[in-house]
Subunit: 338 residues, 4 copies
Amino acid sequence: MELGMVGLGRMGSNMARRLMRAGVRCVVHDRAAEAVDGMAREGAIPARSLAEVVAALSPPRHVWIMVPAGAVDHVIDDLAPLLQTGDAIVDGGNSLFQDDIARATRLTGKSVHYVDAGVSGGVAGLERGYCLMIGGEETIVRRLVLVFEALAPGIAAAPPTPGRAPGTGTADRGWLHCGPHGAGHFVKMVHNAIEYGMMAAYAEGFNLLRHANAGSASHAVDAETTPLRHPEHYRYDFNVAEIAELWRRGSVIPSWLLDLAAQALAGDPALAAFAGRVSDSGEGRWTLAAANDLGVPTYVLAASLFERFASRGEADFQNRLLSALRFQFGGHHEKPVP
Amino acid sequence: MELGMVGLGRMGSNMARRLMRAGVRCVVHDRAAEAVDGMAREGAIPARSLAEVVAALSPPRHVWIMVPAGAVDHVIDDLAPLLQTGDAIVDGGNSLFQDDIARATRLTGKSVHYVDAGVSGGVAGLERGYCLMIGGEETIVRRLVLVFEALAPGIAAAPPTPGRAPGTGTADRGWLHCGPHGAGHFVKMVHNAIEYGMMAAYAEGFNLLRHANAGSASHAVDAETTPLRHPEHYRYDFNVAEIAELWRRGSVIPSWLLDLAAQALAGDPALAAFAGRVSDSGEGRWTLAAANDLGVPTYVLAASLFERFASRGEADFQNRLLSALRFQFGGHHEKPVP
Amino acid sequence: MELGMVGLGRMGSNMARRLMRAGVRCVVHDRAAEAVDGMAREGAIPARSLAEVVAALSPPRHVWIMVPAGAVDHVIDDLAPLLQTGDAIVDGGNSLFQDDIARATRLTGKSVHYVDAGVSGGVAGLERGYCLMIGGEETIVRRLVLVFEALAPGIAAAPPTPGRAPGTGTADRGWLHCGPHGAGHFVKMVHNAIEYGMMAAYAEGFNLLRHANAGSASHAVDAETTPLRHPEHYRYDFNVAEIAELWRRGSVIPSWLLDLAAQALAGDPALAAFAGRVSDSGEGRWTLAAANDLGVPTYVLAASLFERFASRGEADFQNRLLSALRFQFGGHHEKPVP
Amino acid sequence: MELGMVGLGRMGSNMARRLMRAGVRCVVHDRAAEAVDGMAREGAIPARSLAEVVAALSPPRHVWIMVPAGAVDHVIDDLAPLLQTGDAIVDGGNSLFQDDIARATRLTGKSVHYVDAGVSGGVAGLERGYCLMIGGEETIVRRLVLVFEALAPGIAAAPPTPGRAPGTGTADRGWLHCGPHGAGHFVKMVHNAIEYGMMAAYAEGFNLLRHANAGSASHAVDAETTPLRHPEHYRYDFNVAEIAELWRRGSVIPSWLLDLAAQALAGDPALAAFAGRVSDSGEGRWTLAAANDLGVPTYVLAASLFERFASRGEADFQNRLLSALRFQFGGHHEKPVP
């Protein structure tokens, strides 16, 4: 098996490494020549241009694009004319599923096939394997099985699910043909939104634990502050790092995200290195847009996204208006920042 | 009719004024002697102590307490022993309805009656009248009708409701005996939670309008920022003050709160005088506690309360944990503050 | 002044009536001939076709389209070729603001102008006037001032806003040129989302009041039910109709929507005629989509929309999965429907 | 080591079994004699009464109570007089942390010690071990170390956390002394709220996947329905069971809850055995109450709780009011149930 890999950032380079370990011949390209050189030293076939990528592969070719979402269409536009009937492009980046549908239609006109692959795994994927959510034509997906098997974590990565018939499909090896064009990125999109929701659940819980000693503080009493009715109930100085560690075993909420939380909090329980301006990279919004289109309630997924927006100060005008209204009807002055 | 009024702050003094205008004899007391003197100059009977309040009233006495929530029990403890069988205390402050139930039980042992009165109206109440939500015994409420009629806005304050039989009750005059002890403050509590929810609906809407020109800004493109897919759709520089004014006539959303928003925004559309640290004064939390006890979903009321908590920085640790997790699994660095 | 009015449904016919009362000559058309006949009997100029509408107006013509959102583009496609350079189409329906931008571009190619008008007022608009939120070119908007003045409620519909300089603009008469193409429907869209949020705030509050007697019920105690810890706190049988009436005067939360709630509850406090499957007509979703695009948190607006989705059963699979998970980890069986 | 175990339900009996496997001598009691007999056959010392429990243990005695939350105080009232100075009671049930504080104070007067133990693990705990969150006095907790070590999953249950110093404490063995009285149940309470949030995140995500084929349905077009703008984007028939299986390996969201979801969906992807009336057992509400007391925003935790309330029909009156309002201002009729 061989594969062209275009884009050698954090994700693309590790994926190429994992493929080569499994014996897949990788032809690699990146705008940055040093990235190509580096991978060549690790055994990949270097390509200085998209044309070289195409030239180094035998038909039917498979070129996996692993570039930022904004660059995917440019690469496709440059690559497609170099390809032949029957060749296929795989977009492994974070594309919006509607774009996949449009691209597939566009490429069909050129007799080139298109596969969308949602890839999860992050920096740990090289060792842990990548969870692959695939969309596209059945025949093309079948041609890529060896690639998916090489990238995916494999069946040993988790114990079998009781009640699931063995040989049901490929999902238990960590990759799945989810449906037609866009299906892969759709499933990846929902995956990320669930990730946002889970992260928010943990973060709200730990935040609450951090505030559980409010009864020990001496609070000024004024009309603008709701006093703590029973301060004696809130005098806990919890060790959030140790609680994260605790929950990893035997509780209902162990997860890989909790493992990471335990790791982060073990380093510094106050997380002083972070300011708390939380980015979002698109999939949470796309999921909300889909839920909105479909009329499906997603309170938790939406709230976890809005918490990120608000963390970046995007609610400021709203809050000023609330203070202004309180002043209007009640003569309430804002409390000074403590 | 006569009434003792204890507590001559913003609310208590205006209420005494409105009562006197209606011919109610007011015996007034406050810890601050100058407040008592001021009201005396306006025609009230000054009382230097609770004992003087009691002495200046004829049995059965009615003493209206209008003090901060935290001080109500102290005043009741001092006042009750001075009263006689059949006298009544009215708490017009922002008490928790469960406290009303406990106080009524406590005072029953002393043969003193207790009435809870949720009072809405704020600084505008002197002219506009006060909406009164009353809880307690029917016989005692009946003794206070003249007081309620004097304080309430009266039937002319709003057009009649089509389909409501005339003479149905007192609600259309702006006061209502809502039920037994605590019922008044329960209804006031829910009123305030609805107020929070409405304020949040307006504030979120105006905030969105303020951001509608994001497509005009030049945004740096990086992996941590979701780019605006169609900047050409978001190039509106809305005049939020004029839009608030606009919606006051003929739309579906006119309200007194919108009137106040229009007023605040007319003064300064940027609301630069406010930092956006929004206080909450208890009723929103009590409503959430009641909904929680009763198992009633209140997404909007809860979210409007949480937005106030978050405006005061109470989500900071949560947000830092989210950034820490993103760094753990994706190597994502927080974006610097712009 | 004269105007073509295409679409004589509930909204279009009442708007034509209000225009004619103000002396505007109305040329009216609808697919349903009897609707045209009816308006003709009230003094309008009947037009059997779009061509007749155009023929009956003098250039520069103004044709106001008041048809369902899905039909607007069809009408424009049929109408535009009949118009001359300098004529203008006004879309007064519930269009998505991005469609306005696209249509304006399309019509510019034909030298026909386009104005988007968000119209609020509902069935009460004929008497109350319509709140008009306008987007488009300044010169065209200016040509339509007499139409806007006739439709809008006028300055007397609400008291002046303290602090707002007289003569600031037209907003205090109930219409406003909000900005370029799409600005009118954008502001209308946010208006409707605020309406959803306000409605939800009231509805959650009244729902809570309806549940306040849960302490009077006798509840079976089992492991699947959280018992009410203090049933003695929740024994209120509130009259929600009278409470709605009460809040209309002197409280912080009077509004037109509260007037309507009082009216609905006066008719039947149990609202037995309604099943509670709440529709949404688009603007709430569009607002959420815009907030999502812009990265602006709108917890309350989103929750109020999701509550409508959920009321229609769209959370059912989610809920079944939650019950299934509870059974998996805790052996919990679902409680039978009471 | 020896321990009294009172309450031999699903949790208590399995915990006794796990303790006996580790060599802890268990004196067991339950109101149901057959439960005691059954455990006796497995090697436990049967006790027909609390007095027999006390008699069979040597001082200082430790009696672990594992009974429904509502029964804990009754057992403590019966048991405490039988105990001697220095003996200790452990409440391993789902108690509210404030109750722990009150009980500890009460028992201190009797010179009996109190320990609160939040226990997580469910039906899988016998094999998997129980995560133990402990509150109480350091000296008493130390006396129970062998019990905690026997019940907890042990260090091998999860890989070590990078960056956590070895020997930091007991958390990595699955039990932790979290703080003074109530601390154990406080941490357990937050654990369960996080569990609710995570469950909701998954459930919303899978619900969205289930709706992703809405574009294939033929929808009636009417003014009460927002049509799907691009049905061609939503024609995915996702296999939710296989997607749950897929995400278990290599993705960002593996967790024990996902394992259970995969198991439930493998059995029946439609989950037809469940009606979707989701119970809550207290801790979610207690967490919300604590967040409310402390002024900490918990949008996601609250929404996940409200979704359970709503699944049981508790939003019905709210929804009817929304439909009633829509009818009032827009003449909108509810759509019939499809």
